[in-house]
C-alpha cells in the first residue's frame, strides 16, 4: 500500500512514476551487475564501480565536445573505461597482500584516484549531452515516455540477454562461471584464472560505462556522480544476493521503482535513503538476498 495513493491521484501519474522508476532502475541494475561479476570471481567488493559509471559518461561528453560523432564517442568511452577496469585488476594482482580488507581499501583508493583524475583531465562542472534519438517522446497509458527512456530500457535488456548467453553458451563465459564456483578446480581444468579475472574486470567496467553513457542525457554528469550511483548499484546487487548478476537486475528495478514511488507520493527529500533502507531490510530479514543461491552462513 503506497501512502497517499488515493483516488484523486490519477492512474497515469502512477504509470509515470513506474516508468521513470524502471528507467533509473535499469541503470542501477547495470551498476549492480558490475558488482556481482567482480565479486563472483574474486570475492572483492569493488568500490570503484560508481566511478566506472562516471568515467563512461564523462568520457562520452568530452569526446563529443571534441567533435567526434556520437557512436564513435560511445564506443571509445566504453573502451577507455574497460582499460581503466583492467588497470584496477593489474593493481590488485600486483599487490603484495591479498586479504580482502586491503583489496577493498585498494578499490576505495582507486575510486578517489579516478575522481581526482576526472577533476584534472575534465573539470568540476556539471555536463549533459543530447539524447541519442532526439528529445522526442510519445504518450503511453496517459503519460509521457521519452525516447531516451526507451533507449535505456532496450539497451539494458539487450545487455542482460547477451550476458545470459555469454555465461551460458560461450567458452569464456563458462570458464568465468567455473572460476566463480571453485577457483582451484577451475585452474586444474586448465582455465587461465588470471585471464578470466581480467575479463571480469573489463566486462564489469564496460557495463558500468554503458550505464553512465545512457544516464547522462537524463540526469547530467560530473566527477562526483559515481559515489551515489555506485552505492545504489551496490544496494541493488545485495538485494539480488550479491552473487547473481540477474538478481542484481531485479534488485535494481525494485530499487528504481520504489525510489520513484517514494519520491512521488511520500517525500522527494528522502528519495536517496530508500536504497539503504531496503538494503538494511534485506540484510536483517533475508541476508541471502531475494535470489541468493548461497545462503548467508549463520555462525
Amino acid at each position: 500500500m503506497v501512502i497517499g495513493l488515493s483516488s484523486n491521484k490519477p492512474m497515469n501519474e502512477l504509470f509515470g512514476f513506474l516508468l521513470s522508476g524502471i528507467t533509473v532502475g535499469f541503470i542501477y541494475a547495470l551498476v549492480g551487475i558490475g558488482f556481482t561479476v567482480i565479486y563472483n570471481s574474486s570475492g572483492i567488493i569493488n568500490f570503484s564501480q560508481g566511478e566506472f559509471v562516471m568515467a563512461g559518461g564523462m568520457s562520452t561528453v568530452f569526446l563529443l565536445k571534441a567533435g567526434l560523432p556520437l557512436g564513435v564517442s560511445f564506443i571509445l568511452a566504453i573502451m577507455i573505461t574497460s582499460i581503466i577496469g583492467i588497470v584496477l585488476y593489474k593493481l590488485i594482482s600486483y599487490s603484495k597482500d591479498s586479504s580482502q580488507i586491503s583489496l577493498i581499501i585498494l578499490t576505495l583508493g582507486f575510486a578517489i584516484f579516478l575522481r581526482g583524475l576526472a577533476e584534472v583531465v575534465f573539470d568540476k562542472e556539471l555536463h549533459t549531452m543530447p539524447s541519442f534519438v532526439g528529445d522526442g517522446s510519445f504518450d503511453m497509458l496517459g503519460t509521457v515516455l521519452t525516447y531516451q527512456s526507451i533507449v535505456i530500457m532496450v539497451v539494458s535488456i539487450v545487455i542482460v540477454v547477451l550476458l545470459y548467453f555469454f555465461f551460458k553458451k560461450t567458452k569464456t563465459g563458462q570458464a568465468m562461471k567455473a572460476a566463480s564456483i571453485n577457483v582451484d578446480a577451475a585452474r586444474l581444468m586448465g582455465i587461465n584464472i588470471k585471464k578470466v579475472l581480467m575479463i571480469n574486470f573489463a566486462l564489469s567496467a564496460a557495463i558500468a560505462a554503458i550505464g553512465g553513457v545512457l544516464l547522462t542525457p537524463i540526469t547530467s554528469t560530473n566527477y562526483e556522480v559515481g559515489i551515489m550511483l555506485g552505492l545504489k548499484g551496490f544496494a541493488a546487487a545485495i538485494i539480488g544476493g550479491l552473487s547473481n548478476p540477474f538478481g542484481a537486475v531485479v534488485g535494481g528495478l525494485v530499487l528504481g521503482v520504489l525510489e520513484s514511488l517514494i519520491a512521488g507520493y511520500v517525500s522527494s527529500e528522502y528519495k536517496d535513503a530508500v536504497a539503504f533502507v531496503v538494503l538494511l531490510a534485506i540484510l536483517f530479514f533475508m541476508p541471502g538476498g531475494i535470489f541468493g543461491n548461497t545462503k548467508a552462513q549463520r555462525v
Partner: protein
C-alpha cells in the same frame, strides 16, 4: 606502581612524545591539526579494535561520530543541558543504537557488518541533511563553547591536553583489554569463529560488545570535535568521512595498537600538505592509498618492525 596499573613502556613513550610536541607548535593552525589528529586517532583506536581484533569492518563510523556529535550539540544548544551531560546522553543513546543494529547483523559471517553500517551511515547523513529545523541542514549549526563544571575550554592548549589525556587513557584501556581474557577471546574469534564457537564462546555477543565500544569512542570523539570547532555539519557524518577513518586504520596497520594513531595523524596532515597542489589534491591522495595498499599492505606500522628487526639482528 607502573606494574600494578599495567602501564607499559610504550604508553610512557607516547605520553612523553605528546607532552613534548606542543613546544614545536608555532600557531593555532598547527594546534588545530594536532587536536583533530588526536580525535581521529581516538576513533581509530576503537575502530581498530573492531577491524583488527574482531575482524569486522565498519563503513559507518564517520556517521556514528557525526550523529553522536549532533545529539550532544542539539541537547546542549537547544535544551540548555550542560555539555558534559549532553555528551554522556549522546554516548548512552549511541551505545543502545549500536547494540540494536549489531545484534542481528553480527550473527552472519562475512562482511555483513560492513554492508549494514554502510547503509545505516548513509541514512544518518541523509536524515541530518533533510531535518534542517533540528540540524541546520547542509549548512550545519554553530556550537556553544565547551565547559566542564564551570571550567571553560577556550584555549587550544587546553583542548590539546584534554584530547591527549583521553587518547592515552583509551590506549591504556585498549591494551589492558587486549591482554585480558576478553582480548584473548577476540583473538580466537579473529583466528577461527568455528573453533571459538566450539569451546563455548558466544561469538556474536563478543563482536557486539566490541562494536558498541568502538561506537562509544567514536561518539565521544565526534562530540568533542563539534565542541572544539564550534561548528557541526552533515559532512562529519558523510560516507567519505567513514571511508577516511577505515583507510586511516588500514594505512597505519590493522590490528596494531599504534598503527591506528600513525594512520590518523598522517591522513589528517596529508590533505593540509596537499592543498598546495590544488587541483591535484584528490588525485595524489588516491594514489598514495593505492601505493600503500599495494606495497605495504600491513600498514605503515610494519615499517617500524622492519627497522627494529634489522637493528636487533645486528646486536645478536
Amino acid at each position: 606502581m607502573l606494574k600494578r596499573y599495567n602501564i607499559s613502556q610504550d604508553i610512557i613513550v607516547l605520553a612523553i612524545l605528546l607532552f613534548i610536541a606542543p613546544f614545536f607548535f608555532q600557531n593555532d593552525f598547527i594546534y588545530e591539526i594536532a587536536i583533530v589528529s588526536l580525535l581521529n586517532a581516538l576513533i581509530c583506536v576503537g575502530l581498530n579494535m573492531l577491524m583488527g581484533y574482531a575482524g569486522q569492518v565498519s563503513l559507518g563510523h564517520g556517521a556514528f561520530a557525526g550523529l553522536g556529535g549532533y545529539i550532544a550539540v542539539i541537547l546542549s544548544s537547544n535544551y540548555g543541558i550542560s555539555p558534559l551531560f549532553s555528551i554522556f546522553i549522546a554516548i548512552v543513546t549511541m551505545a543502545i543504537f549500536a547494540f540494536i543494529i549489531s545484534k542481528p547483523i553480527l550473527k552472519l559471517r562475512g562482511h555483513y557488518l560492513a554492508m549494514a553500517t554502510l547503509g545505516v551511515g548513509i541514512i544518518i547523513s541523509i536524515v541530518l541533511n533533510v531535518e534542517d529545523e533540528l540540524t541546520g541542514g547542509s549548512d550545519g549549526m554553530s556550537v556553544d563553547s565547551f565547559s566542564v563544571f564551570g571550567y571553560e575550554f577556550t584555549d587550544s592548549l587546553q583542548w590539546y591536553i584534554l584530547c591527549a589525556v583521553l587518547l592515552i587513557f583509551t590506549i591504556w584501556m585498549f591494551k589492558n583489554l587486549i591482554n585480558s581474557p576478553f582480548g584473548r577471546v577476540l583473538k580466537s574469534i579473529e583466528g577461527s569463529q568455528k573453533a571459538a564457537n566450539s569451546v563455548g564462546i558466544n561469538v556474536s555477543h563478543y563482536k557486539s560488545v566490541v562494536f558498541v565500544i568502538s561506537v562509544v569512542i567514536a561518539t565521544l570523539a565526534g562530540s568533542l570535535y563539534a565542541f572544539f570547532s564550534g561548528f557541526i555539519s552533515p559532512s562529519e557524518a558523510s560516507f567519505s568521512h567513514s571511508i577516511e577513518l577505515v583507510v586511516m586504520v588500514v594505512l597505519g596497520g590493522l590490528g596494531r595498537v599504534y598503527g591506528a594513531i600513525i594512520g590518523a595523524v598522517i591522513l589528517t596532515i596529508l590533505p593540509q600538505l596537499l592543498t598546495s597542489f590544488e587541483d591535484y589534491q584528490t588525485l595524489i591522495y588516491g594514489a598514495i592509498i593505492i601505493f600503500v595498499m599495494m606495497f605495504m599492505p600491513k600498514g605503515i606500522a610494519s615499517l617500524f618492525d622492519d627497522i627494529k628487526r634489522r637493528l636487533f639482528a645486528q646486536n645478536k
